[in-house]
C-alpha cells in the first residue's frame, strides 16, 4: 500500500476533503470517498464512457484519471445537473423520449451531452451523432438517446439559455 495523501475534490460546487492513495482513480474517489455514486464504472479502460464527468469545461472519463489530478479543478457529475426539483432539459428529454432503460450508462451520456451543448449550442445533428458515438449503451439501441439529445438541443436553443 502506498502512502495516502490529502486532497480536496470540488464536486458540484462542494468541497470534499479526502485522503487517498496517489494511484486511486478519480471515479473511485468520487464514488467511494465522496459518496457521489451517480457516476458509474463500466469498463475502467476508457471505452464505454459510463464514468464521463465534466472537469472544468471538458467531458472526461473519470476512470482514466487519478483523483490527485483533479485537485483544484471543478468537477461536475450527474448529481449536479438538476436545480433542486427542476430537472435539466436533457434529463427531462431523456425521460420524455425513453432515452434510458437500465439507466446505467445514462449519467455518462448526460454529462457528455450537457458538455457538448454548453460548448456548442448550435451543434448540427451529424455532429451530435459523432460526439455521442463515444459512449456505449446496451439497452436502447441508441435511437431514443439521439432523439432525446436532439430534442433537448432544439428546446435549449429555443429557450435561448443553454444550461
Amino acid at each position: 500500500m502506498t502512502e495516502k495523501i490529502d486532497i480536496t475534490l470540488t464536486i458540484n460546487g462542494r468541497d470534499h476533503a479526502i485522503r487517498v492513495e496517489p494511484r486511486k482513480t478519480l471515479v473511485d474517489a468520487i464514488r467511494d470517498d465522496c459518496g457521489q455514486t451517480g457516476t458509474h464504472i463500466g469498463c475502467e479502460h476508457g471505452i464505454c464512457g459510463a464514468c464521463t464527468i465534466i472537469l472544468d469545461d471538458e467531458a472526461v472519463r473519470s476512470c482514466l484519471m487519478f483523483a490527485v489530478q483533479a485537485q483544484g479543478k471543478k468537477i461536475r457529475t450527474v448529481e449536479g445537473l438538476a436545480n433542486g426539483d427542476k430537472l435539466h432539459p436533457l434529463q427531462e428529454s431523456f425521460i420524455k423520449h425513453h432515452g434510458l432503460q437500465c439507466g446505467f450508462c445514462t449519467p455518462g451520456f448526460l454529462m457528455l451531452a450537457v458538455n457538448m451543448l454548453e460548448r456548442q449550442p448550435d451543434i448540427g445533428d451529424d455532429e451530435i451523432l459523432e460526439v455521442l458515438s463515444s459512449n456505449l449503451c446496451r439497452c436502447t439501441g441508441y435511437q431514443n438517446i439521439i432523439a432525446a439529445v436532439r430534442a433537448a438541443a432544439a428546446d435549449m436553443r429555443r429557450a435561448g439559455a443553454p444550461a
Binding site: 467511494d32 469498463c43 430537472l87 434529463q91 455521442l132
Partner: protein
C-alpha cells in the same frame, strides 16, 4: 383456460398507453442504487484469483504471501470451501449433468481461463487486488479442447458430452426418400453474450442478531436463486434473503447464480463482516455466461413447390467448461423452437451438449432462438435459391396458416414439451411487414444499385417467440392512509421498465394514478414466491398476478365504500383514487386513503373482517404464449473493407396487447441492435491455447451509435393471447431473434453469392475471405 378479447388502449385509461416510466427520475439524477452503490460499514472487499490456464491440473495454490500482505483478512482456496456443493441447477436437471457443475473455487483442475481458483478478502479493493497477484498457482497443463465437434474427457471415464438431446416428429426418412430436392447447410452461430453495461456485483451480509443472511446486488431471479442457495448452504428459507436494487442491464446472463455470489455469502458468515465484490470488465468477459455458440448441420427435404417435407438438424453446442444454472436448457429450446412459424411434415433434431475449455455458457436474450432462427431462415433462403423461387413466396407457402391456430407442435420424445402456438396469423403479419417496409420498392431499388455496381441486398426472416412461462405468480397490493398504493411482486427488473408496466396494470384495474404507485420487486423478504424476469415472462405472469390482485382490491374498496357512502357498490366507480357514483362528479365521495383509515385495526365497520385495505392474489398459467414477428433488412457491403453496413432494419411484432408501446418499442429496438452486434461484430475468440482474445471493450466490439441503424418497429395487436385476461404476449426477446438471420441473407444478396454466409458474426475479415 380461455379469456375473452381484452379492450384496446383507446378504451383504457392508462394500460396500453405510451406513458413515461416511473423508474426514470432517480436514474437520470444519479440516485439509482446499483450493486456497486451498495456498501455496509466495516465491509471487506473480495478479489478473485482466476486461472490463467485453459485446462490444467491444479498442483498447489500458495497463498502465504497474499495472507501476509497488510490489509488482507483472509485468502481462501478450493480446500477452504470443500464443504460447499457446486453451483446447483435452478430447475431439476438430469442426473447425468450433475458431475459437470462448477465448484465455488476450483479443486484439482482448472478448466477455463477465468476459472476461480482463490478468493482474497481485504480491507480495501485496491489491496485485495494487490494481494491477489501474490497468490501463486502451480499447475500442470493438460490438453486443451476448444472445438465442440471434438469429444474429450471431462474426468476419468466421463466424456465432455454430458448429454444428447433429441426432438422429433413425423417420418423423416420417408420425407427425404420422397423429396423432390434436398438442401443441406453447415452453419455456425458465434460465441457472444449479453454483456450488460453494469458488470456483476454481490454484497453479502450476515445479521447475527436475526440470524439472517443477505445477498445484495441480486437480479433477474432473486426468488429462484434464494431457493438454490437454501439448498446449497442448508439454511431455512426464512434465514436468507436476496435484494435487488437498480440493475444495469440483464439480457439473461446477469442475475444467474455464480460462484462469486456464494463466496460473498460464505465469507460474510465466516469472517463476520459484510463482503463486497464488484466484477471488473475483464473478469466479466471471461467469467460471466457466454452464449450462442453452436455448429449446425441442417438438411431439408422439399417437394417441387418448396413445401417442407422434413428437416433434420444435428448440432454441437459449445457449452464451455462447466454446466451452469440452466443445465442443458438452451439445447432443448434451440430444437423445440427451430421449426418456428413453419408447418413441417417431419422433424428430427439431435443436439450434442459439449463441454470445451472456454468460459461456461448459458442463456442470452432469445436463447436458442437467435441461433435457431439463423439456421432455419438460412435454410429457407437456400431452398428458395435451389428451387428458383422467390424467398417470400417460399416462406408464404410454408407458414402455418392463421386458420390452423391454435397449432400444436408435438414431439415424439417423452418429456419433450409440446408447443401449443396460442393465436395469430403469420402470413398476415408478413404481408403487413412487407407493405410497411415497401419491400417491392426496396428490392427494385437494391437491384438498380447493384446494377450500378454497389453491393446492397435485402434479408427477410420470420420468427416465433415464447413467453409467459408459468406455473404461477402472486402479488400483494395495499393502500396506505395517504392513499398511496404499494404493489409487491415477486418479479424483477433488469432495466426493462417492469415497475412502470406493473403500475399501469394496477392503475387500470384499481382506478388510481399509475405515477404514484410504488412497485416492489426483487425482494425475497417482502413476498415469499416469485419468478423474476426471464424468458419474457415478467409482464405476462407478474402482470397477470397484479391485475388479479388489483381487481380483488378494487372489489374490496367498493364494498367498504358502499357501506360508508350508503350507495350500492355496483353504482360506484374508482377514478384517480376517489370512489364516487358512476358517471357523475357530484354526490358523495371517498378517497381510497380515507377508506384505508376507516378500516384500520380496531375499526368499527370491520365487523370481524380483517383490517387494512389490501389484497393478495395469484395468476396461474398452464401454457406459454407465443408472440411472433417478421424482420427485414437492407444491407450494404463495402467490397474493399469487408464491412457490412445496415441501411434499414425493421421489426414487425405481434404482441397481443402492449402494456406500454413506448417501452415495447424500446425493447424491440434495443434487442435488434444487440442482434446487430452478434451478426456483425461481437465474438469471444480464443487462441490455440485457450487464451481468450476478447477481454476488453477494445476487443469485444459492441455497436456504438456509429454502427447503429435506425430500427423501424411495427407493433401489431391483432391477436391478443387467449391465455391471459389482458391478452399479453411477452416483448423482451423478439427484437433480437431474427437479426443474425436477416443480416446473413442480405449480405448474400448484396455480394451476389447465395449461401455465402454460413457463420456469425460476419466480421470484415470473414467477409473479405468470402469475397476473395
Amino acid at each position: 383456460m380461455k379469456f375473452p378479447t381484452p379492450p384496446r388502449a383507446d378504451e383504457r385509461k392508462v394500460l396500453g398507453h405510451a406513458v413515461p416510466r416511473i423508474e426514470d427520475r432517480p436514474l437520470v439524477t444519479g440516485h439509482g442504487r446499483y450493486a456497486g452503490d451498495v456498501s455496509f460499514s466495516h465491509q471487506l472487499h473480495m478479489r478473485i484469483v482466476r486461472s490463467a490456464h485453459a485446462h490444467a491440473r491444479l498442483v498447489a495454490v500458495d497463498a502465504t504471501a497474499a495472507r501476509a500482505h497488510p490489509g488482507v483478512v483472509a485468502v481462501w482456496t478450493g480446500d477452504d470451501v470443500s464443504d460447499v456443493p457446486p453451483i446447483d441447477f435452478r430447475d431439476p436437471s438430469a442426473e447425468a449433468l450433475k458431475p459437470y457443475r462448477q465448484p465455488v473455487l476450483a479443486r484439482g483442475r482448472v478448466r477455463y481461463v477465468g476459472d476461480p481458483v482463490a478468493a482474497v478478502f481485504a480491507e480495501d479493493p485496491y489491496v485485495a487486488e494487490d494481494a491477489a497477484e501474490l497468490v501463486e498457482v502451480a499447475v500442470e497443463p493438460l490438453p486443451v479442447l476448444l472445438d465442440a465437434h471434438e469429444l474429450g474427457e471431462f474426468d476419468a471415464g466421463r466424456p465432455t458430452e454430458p448429454t444428447i438431446i433429441r426432438h422429433s416428429f413425423g417420418d423423416v426418412d420417408a420425407a427425404f426418400a420422397t423429396a423432390h430436392a434436398v438442401v443441406e447447410l453447415t452453419l455456425t452461430a458465434g460465441r457472444h453474450s449479453g454483456v450488460p453495461m453494469e458488470t456483476r456485483g454481490a454484497i453479502g451480509r450476515y445479521d447475527a442478531s436475526r440470524d439472517v443472511l443477505e445477498l445484495h446486488g441480486a437480479a433477474k431471479v432473486p426468488h429462484r436463486n434464494k431457493e438454490t442457495l437454501v439448498r446449497m448452504l442448508k439454511r431455512s428459507p426464512h434465514g436468507i434473503h436476496l435484494f435487488e436494487g437498480a440493475t444495469g442491464g440483464g439480457f439473461g446472463i446477469r442475475g444467474e447464480l455464480y460462484p462469486e455470489d456464494v463466496l460473498v455469502l460464505l465469507a460474510a458468515m465466516r469472517l463476520g463482516r459484510p463482503v463486497k465484490w464488484i466484477e471488473d470488465r475483464r473478469e466479466h468477459l471471461i467469467a460471466a455466461n457466454h452464449s450462442r455458440h453452436q455448429h449446425h448441420r441442417v438438411r431439408a427435404a422439399v417437394d417441387a413447390q418448396g413445401h417442407l417435407l422434413g428437416i433434420t438438424d444435428e448440432f454441437f453446442h459449445d457449452q464451455g467448461a462447466y454446466v451452469r444454472t440452466h443445465g442443458a436448457r438452451v439445447v432443448g429450446r434451440t430444437m423445440s423452437m427451430l421449426t418456428g412459424p413453419y408447418k413441417i411434415g417431419a422433424y428430427r433434431a439431435i443436439g450434442h451438449f459439449r463441454l470445451t475449455n472456454k468460459t461456461p455458457a448459458a442463456t442470452y436474450r432469445a436463447p436458442g432462438r437467435y441461433e435457431g432462427t439463423f439456421v432455419r431462415e438460412r435454410l429457407m433462403d437456400a431452398i428458395a435459391h435451389k428451387l428458383g423461387l422467390d424467398r417470400i413466396e417460399l416462406r408464404r407457402r410454408n407458414l402455418i396458416p392463421g386458420a390452423e391456430m391454435p397449432f400444436t407442435v408435438e414431439f415424439d420424445e417423452p418429456g419433450a414439451e409440446e408447443l401449443i402456438l396460442d393465436s395469430g396469423d403469420y402470413p398476415a403479419l408478413l404481408d403487413k411487414a412487407l407493405a410497411h417496409f415497401k419491400w417491392n420498392d426496396v428490392q427494385a431499388e437494391a437491384a438498380r444499385r447493384r446494377a450500378a455496381g454497389e453491393a446492397v441486398g435485402t434479408g427477410v426472416g420470420l420468427f416465433v417467440e415464447e413467453s409467459g412461462r408459468g406455473p404461477a405468480d402472486g402479488a400483494k397490493i395495499s393502500v396506505d392512509r395517504d392513499g398511496v398504493v404499494e404493489v409487491v411482486t415477486g418479479g424483477a427488473s433488469v432495466g426493462q421498465g417492469f415497475a412502470t408496466a406493473m403500475a399501469q396494470i394496477c392503475a387500470e384495474a384499481l382506478g388510481v394514478d399509475y405515477a404514484a404507485i410504488r412497485v416492489v420487486h426483487g425482494r425475497t423478504d417482502r413476498i415469499a414466491y416469485g419468478i423474476g424476469a426471464h424468458a419474457a415472462r415478467a409482464t405476462v405472469m407478474t402482470g397477470g398476478a397484479v391485475n388479479e390482485t388489483a381487481l380483488k382490491l378494487r372489489a374490496k374498496a367498493l364494498d367498504y365504500a358502499a357501506e360508508l357512502l350508503q350507495t350500492p357498490a355496483e353504482e360506484l366507480d374508482i377514478a384517480a383514487g376517489v370512489v364516487r357514483r358512476k358517471g357523475g362528479d357530484g354526490g358523495p365521495s371517498i378517497t381510497l386513503g380515507e377508506i384505508a383509515r376507516r378500516v384500520a385495526p380496531g375499526a368499527e365497520i370491520l365487523h370481524g373482517r380483517e383490517p387494512g385495505l389490501s389484497a393478495e392474489a395469484w395468476f396461474h398459467a398452464d401454457h406459454t404464449v407465443f408472440p411472433y414477428g417478421a424482420a427485414l433488412a437492407l444491407v450494404r457491403v463495402d467490397r474493399d473493407s469487408g464491412q457490412a453496413t445496415i441501411e434499414r432494419l425493421m421489426i414487425a411484432y405481434e404482441v397481443g396487447r402492449a402494456v406500454n408501446p413506448m417501452m415495447l418499442e424500446g425493447q424491440l429496438v434495443g434487442g435488434a441492435i444487440q442482434g446487430v452486434g452478434g451478426a456483425l461484430f461481437e465474438e469471444f475468440t480464443y487462441d490455440e491455447n485457450g487464451e481468450p482474445l476478447a477481454v476488453s471493450f477494445a476487443d469485444y466490439l459492441m455497436p456504438t451509435l456509429r454502427e447503429t441503424p435506425a430500427v423501424d418497429v411495427l407493433i401489431a395487436e391483432d391477436f391478443p393471447s387467449p391465455r391471459n385476461p389482458l391478452g399479453l404476449k411477452g416483448g423482451g426477446e423478439g427484437g433480437i431473434n431474427a437479426i443474425g438471420a436477416i443480416v446473413a441473407g442480405a449480405i448474400d444478396e448484396a455480394i451476389g453469392m447465395p449461401g455465402a454466409v454460413t457463420r456469425l458474426p460476419v466480421t470484415p475479415q470473414r467477409l473479405r475471405e468470402i469475397l476473395r
